[in-house]
């Protein structure tokens, strides 16, 4: 037993004795976690950063939420839809209160939804067909549409990247392009503003006023029962430091554990390494449709033929245990799964066929400017492997290393690659962010207003509308299949497979929800 453990045990013993002497009160339970990233932005509407979304799940609540099967369930509100699917009525449940003591009202819900609808891709699409969104009274919100929107509840109840979190109207009235200054929700934890230090950590305390639903917790739905007094998120840029801290008991959880450090924890029965959720992330490559050579669909197809997922995933995660070859743009194991058009991608690629296609397309050796972020651990491997695969098929690849900040600035440039533009870059998405054609930004085909790469693809826009209008799950699946086939034919982007880094927790931490977004309700912490 280590000295620090001995000290902490003694301290714990004294604390317990003192607490009992003082009237039987229990010692405060604090869970200390090192999250996947540093929390810096606190506004869950202005940014799609996952860590900000995770923060929002702590302090805010949502109207409806996905259960563990992905089905939408009531959370803050019960919802009913009219027979024609054009009117949705949300009725807030009793006992909902913001952290400043004010009750949650329909006006708060409307203001929050309106702000969300300005920033979220799915929200914007719903707002395009919104006839009215009004609070009928303090408890009732009526959302009337001018046209049916098949995945309405799936969009309002989605888990990522921008779920519509409910905040007080006076805060939600902040313009959507300016960050909010107050962080008050009605969720199961309260944010301790004075302890927030970007780059160091954030603290949350149990919201004693929170009234959980009576149903058992399931996914992001059901009763959000909090069993700990405090949760602290610490920032530790060095993974080795985090592992040392976990082993010494300084922290309880590492949310995203680098695979190469897992052997350090083997044989330590106070620590468990595990995958928290079945679905992880999709890694992908995006080409620039505006400039040669990828303005030519045949050359994009040649690039698709040249590439193979397995080597990319192996370089990214180092262990087959944590990746999955998968050609489905909406994810494998999902209800919209289809792998049409990815046969070579999920096998070894077909460089010979790619060479032939390049010849047919008249590729003249125009350099492919491929951007490589050198300091981003989950993004630096993909460009290296992809460059090798493209070169093997005859592409002239100009790989340009840079930091992620430079990359995100440069990818916004519509200039030609020689003038500071680009041809290809790579990024990752949580599976729930690409789970359907409404949510996935890569499938936006609206030219200059689309996501970086700017495909001008009226056909995919038609197909997305078909998906939105589809009234049944079967019709939605049929529309999604067509989108998969079309996206691979035009190479909207190159899905490079799925991966999932494990978490490492001390075994004193139990009952963690198996959700892709780490949530801290439900979990328990026992004495060491």
């Amino acid at each position: 037993m280590t000295h620090s453990k001995t000290l902490s045990m003694k301290a714990g013993l004294f604390a317990s004795v003192f607490a009992l002497a003082a009237g039987g009160a229990l010692a405060e339970t604090t869970v200390t976690a090192v999250m996947h990233s540093d929390l810096r932005v606190l506004d869950p509407v202005i940014t799609t950063a996952h860590i900000t979304r995770d923060h929002a799940y702590m302090i805010y609540d949502v109207l409806v939420a996905e259960d563990e099967t992905g089905k939408i369930q009531p959370q803050m509100a019960d919802v009913t839809a009219s027979d024609d699917g054009l009117t949705y009525t949300f009725t807030l449940r009793d006992g909902l209160k913001f952290h400043d003591g004010a009750p949650v009202t329909g006006a708060d819900v409307v203001a929050s939804l309106q702000r969300w609808g300005k920033r979220d891709t799915g929200g914007q699409m719903i707002m395009d067909v919104t006839a009215s969104l009004e609070a009928k009274d303090d408890k009732t919100v009526v959302w009337a549409l001018s046209a049916p929107f098949g995945p309405f509840l799936e969009t309002v109840g989605k888990q990522s990247a921008l779920p519509p979190f409910i905040m007080p109207a006076r805060i939600a009235q902040t313009p959507a392009d300016q960050a909010i200054q107050e962080h008050i929700g009605s969720g199961p934890f309260k944010f301790v503003t004075e302890e927030f230090q970007p780059g160091v950590g954030a603290t949350y305390v149990k919201n004693e006023e929170y009234v959980p639903r009576s149903e058992p917790a399931s996914g992001y739905a059901g009763g959000k029962v909090v069993n700990v007094d405090k949760v602290r998120w610490l920032t530790m840029p060095d993974s080795q430091t985090a592992v040392n801290a976990l082993q010494s008991g300084d922290i309880d959880l590492i949310e995203s554990m680098p695979v190469d450090l897992i052997p350090l924890l083997e044989g330590d029965d106070t620590v468990a390494v595990e995958k928290r959720a079945a679905f992880g992330f999709q890694t992908m490559g995006r080409m620039n449709f505006k400039h040669p050579p990828f303005d030519n669909p045949k050359i994009r197809q040649a690039a698709l033929l040249a590439m193979s997922q397995e080597p990319v995933l192996a370089a990214l995660t180092a262990s087959p245990e944590y990746y999955q070859v998968c050609g489905a743009i909406f994810g494998c194991g999902t209800r919209l799964e289809s792998t049409t058009g990815t046969e070579t991608l999920t096998a070894a690629g077909n460089p010979e066929a790619a060479k032939k296609l390049l010849e047919e397309a008249g590729y003249d050796g125009t350099p492919v400017v491929l951007m490589q972020p050198t300091e981003a651990p989950t993004l630096k491997a993909q460009p290296v492997v992809a460059a090798q695969q493209l070169r093997a098929a005859g592409f002239n690849v100009d790989m340009q290393p840079m930091d992620w900040q430079t990359l995100v600035t440069r990818r916004a440039s519509m200039e030609a690659p020689a003038n500071g533009g680009w041809n290809m870059f790579f990024t990752n998405w949580q599976m729930s962010e690409v789970a359907n054609p409404v949510i996935s930004v890569m499938l936006n085909g609206r030219g200059d207003t689309a996501w970086f790469g700017w495909p001008d693809d009226p056909k995919i826009e038609e197909l997305r509308k078909e998906f939105i209008a589809a009234a049944t799950p079967e019709a939605q699946k049929a529309a999604a299949d067509k989108i998969q086939a079309h996206a691979m034919e035009t190479v909207s982007y190159v899905p490079l497979g799925e991966y999932n880094f494990p978490q490492a927790r001390r075994t004193v931490l139990t009952d963690m929800a198996p959700t892709p977004v780490p949530v801290f309700w439900g979990l328990k912490k026992s004495e060491e």
Binding site: T48, G199, T241, D250, Q405, T409, A412, T427, D448
Partner: protein
Amino acid sequence: MLSYIFKRVLSVVPVLFLVSVFVFLMLRLTPGDPAAILAGDNATPETLQRIRDAMGLNEPLLTQYVKWIAGILRGDFGTSLISGVEVLDLVAKRVGPSISLAVLTIIIAVLVAIPMGVIAAWKHRSWVDYLVMSFSVLGFSVPVFLVGYVLLLVFSVKLGWLPPQGFKPLSAGIAPFLERAILPALTLASIYIALIARMTRAAMLDVLNEDYIRTARAKGVGERRILFVHALKNAAVPIATIVGAGFALLISGVVVTETIFNIPGIGRLTVDAVLARDYPVIQALILLTASVYVAINLLIDLSYSLFDPRIRY
């Protein structure tokens, strides 16, 4: 003396002005966009443009610079573009750990290195001298992250005597502070011990060959008094310079050590701000660093007159 200090303080103004212009322009000319960091991965170019407008980044550079300087003159360093926290608040919370770590490191370094350097010079070309010099070369050559990891492995992971990470301020008590600060301070001190010991040895060797040392010996003054009173005082000017410069370097941030031991100091704040292109934070940190260097240089210069009465201001 007072007029010298006044002139030196006055000369800080043009220095800081030039630093401010240089930093402001360098940051604006470096590729990067804080709006992109704020908005996240799926922001469209249109959204980024709107956020840049809201941040004031689309205003002419001169307007942005004048606004920034006017804010500083009012004592307002602005707010972080990314977190929205006031820059002064952000920096103030990081200064404490950096200063306390720097002070502890320098105390350890001076207490160990100066006797080492003095003894090495005294026992010139003996095994003691070679041992000190070998340690010195080792201190320079071994990367700081390796020293840090080895200390962690031994004292935290294997022996479990000390916690592996974090920082407790002195206000929490000396024992909790030392418990978390001693390993990072030793890690950093390994370099400074090497540097100061080497400098002390070289300065002492020069002085020990002076006539007045020979005279002191001839008069029968004891070796200890010769070394630590007669010689060391006269060798102190270069040693004070190196200690002062080292202290300034420590305060302005030691990123690797702060990262390994998870210390919330200035170094990590600087790197985070640079990676996020958080302009107001970087600008404030560079001005702070420049001010620290100017102030420490002034103190070093003033200290010379304490060691050498011939130096007058």
